[in-house]
């Protein structure tokens, strides 16, 4: 009896330790990045760091607005391309596709999520870049190529969560709608999607988080120029890719500035998580 009780306790604390690891991990990363990056705010000034367009580390100029804009431009375009496609995939899987087709499409979508990002980058360089270059000129490395690659990368994230949200809409809603004489399209558009709205928004925000945090693939296809792109196909730099490109050799203030960019990224993802929490609370 005593042994059973002891075992129960031990298991409980084991699970507690596992759960705490996540919190400790987040805290450690946050504290470390803040300590390493904070001095740049004092040195350059918060406003100048965040809102100056001039990034030339060799001249001690550390303005990261170009990359903040770059990150958001890349993410916005990827969402505009990827989110509708993902949500339509989710609708197809949950409302339209027969079981046999579902069994084919769903693993394919899930497999898409498991491909390493460096492979996406390689795919981008070999397939997308030449196509973009032939159609629009330039080098093919830039905003549009980034959009296409990221749209494919965030598709599984948004599609699987959206599908869950759509499936969670009670069957009775659909039956009531069909009972009133609505067509399948009307049922999907007017009943199911509005009922699943919060879940779909949550899925999109999660996809957004994935897009803005993606590093390797965008490093390979964006062209990494420290400028606001002049055209849809012009080279652009994102916060993540610039950190990755610079970290191997940066020292002194330059390194601190990279950690400062890390703080900004942390804030952005913190904001996204808060947003998802807020939306899911509204739902319940």
């Amino acid at each position: 009896m005593n042994f059973l009780k002891w075992r129960e306790r031990a298991l409980e604390s084991l699970f507690l330790i596992c759960a705490l690891t996540a919190i400790v991990g987040v805290l450690l990363v946050f504290i470390f990045v803040t300590i390493k990056g904070f001095p740049i705010f004092e040195k350059v000034g918060v406003l100048k760091f965040l809102f100056s367009l001039d990034w030339s580390p060799s001249d001690n100029k550390f303005g990261i607005l170009t990359f903040i804009i770059g990150s958001f431009l890349v993410t916005a375009g990827a969402l505009a391309l990827g989110a509708p496609m993902a949500i339509m995939t989710a609708i197809f899987l949950s409302e339209i596709a027969p079981k046999r087709v579902q069994k084919l499409v769903r693993p394919a979508v899930e497999l898409l999520a498991g491909i390493p990002s460096v492979v996406y980058g390689f795919f981008g360089i070999l397939i997308i870049v030449p196509v973009v270059r032939t159609l629009f000129g330039g080098s093919g490395l830039g905003l549009l190529t980034g959009w296409i690659i990221l749209a494919i990368m965030i598709l599984p994230t948004i599609a699987t969560i959206s599908e869950d949200a759509i499936r969670a809409v009670p069957k009775s809603f659909r039956e009531a709608s069909f009972g009133m004489g609505a067509t399948r399209w009307q049922t999907i558009w007017r009943v199911v999607l509005p009922a699943a709205k919060n879940g779909l928004i949550g899925a999109t925000i999660l996809g957004m988080g994935r897009a803005i945090g993606e590093t390797m693939a965008v490093l390979m296809v964006l062209g990494n120029a420290p400028i606001i792109p002049k055209s849809l196909v012009g080279p652009v730099g994102a916060l993540t890719s610039i950190i990755a490109l610079n970290m191997s050799y940066a020292s002194g203030d330059h390194q601190t500035a990279l950690f400062g960019m890390g703080i900004v990224l942390f804030m952005i993802s913190f904001f996204f998580v808060a947003l998802i929490r807020l939306i899911s609370r509204k739902r319940s």
Partner: protein, 264 residues
């Protein structure tokens, strides 16, 4: 549980014996120097049983940084040390002389540029090939990241330190620059002479073809030294490897394959 306890020490033990058997010499830095060091490292390993040579890129600045912090036994660089870096106790050994070749796509009819034209292109004053005698095509600039020693040397020697235009695609390695220039009709970039292949076309700079002869006779201006950097005088394996690279055999073999050997 019992099994786990048994497994852990045995894993640790095998780890230890392996580490004791092979000494690892870590070298990192310039992507220009990388192929030469890799090739020399393989021969060095064949001749010195029990020493493994680990080679990494990252750019010259990364190599210098790694030599300073001790992350690498030898840091390689294709640029000279800055005055600040020179104060950090690094010992600099020149292992080869290299030229920077300006490269364009093989389909590009332009085959020579003056010093001023090169400067105008890379500082953004000239943006169309038509302006320098080519087709009516927007110039696509391919530049290196700031870690690059090649970039630093090009900035100093070809641009007289006038800053690069920021409107350029930035790539983290010499190989990437070559592959993009090789596949993009309107592209121009610059890479180490040792990296030039048939995929790209070298152009004459100020009337001189980049070649080993023109490096030696000093006519080709875009040349620089390639360095090995160590924290203090090279010791142990680092010393043995540096001497190996400076030996006649490697200097006339692997080094001369891509670069120009250092004078005896």
């Amino acid at each position: 549980m019992g099994l786990l306890i048994l497994v852990i020490p045995s894993l640790a033990a095998t780890g230890c014996t392996r580490a004791a058997n092979a000494k690892v010499l870590n070298i990192s830095g310039s992507t220009t120097v990388l192929p030469m060091v890799t090739a020399a490292g393989e021969e060095f390993q064949a001749e010195h049983q029990g020493i493994k040579v680990g080679v990494q890129g990252g750019g010259s600045s990364a190599g210098i940084e790694a030599a300073v912090t001790g992350a690498s036994d030898i840091g390689t660089s294709s640029r000279d040390l800055t005055p600040e870096e020179a104060k950090l106790g690094l010992v600099d050994t020149v292992v080869a002389i290299d030229a920077i070749a300006i490269i364009v796509n093989p389909d590009n009819p332009v085959d020579h540029l003056t010093k001023t034209q090169v400067k105008d292109i890379f500082t953004g004053r000239v943006t169309n090939w038509r302006q320098v005698g080519g087709r009516d095509l927007e110039i696509v600039l391919i530049n290196r990241d700031e870690a690059s020693g090649t970039r630093e040397a090009f900035l100093k020697k070809a641009l007289d330190k006038t800053p690069f235009t920021k409107d350029a695609v930035i790539q983290p390695g010499t190989g990437q620059v070559r592959s993009i220039v090789g596949s993009t009709p309107a592209a121009i970039g610059y890479i180490s002479l040792g990296y030039v292949t048939k995929d790209v076309k070298m152009i004459k700079y100020a009337g001189v073809t980049p070649s080993k002869a023109n490096i030696i006779n000093g006519k080709y201006q875009l040349q620089r030294k390639l360095h090995f950097l160590t924290k203090g005088k090279p010791k142990g394996e680092a010393k043995a490897f540096t001497e190996f690279v400076l030996s006649d055999k490697i200097q006339t073999g692997i080094v001369s394959h891509e670069f120009v050997r250092v004078a005896k």
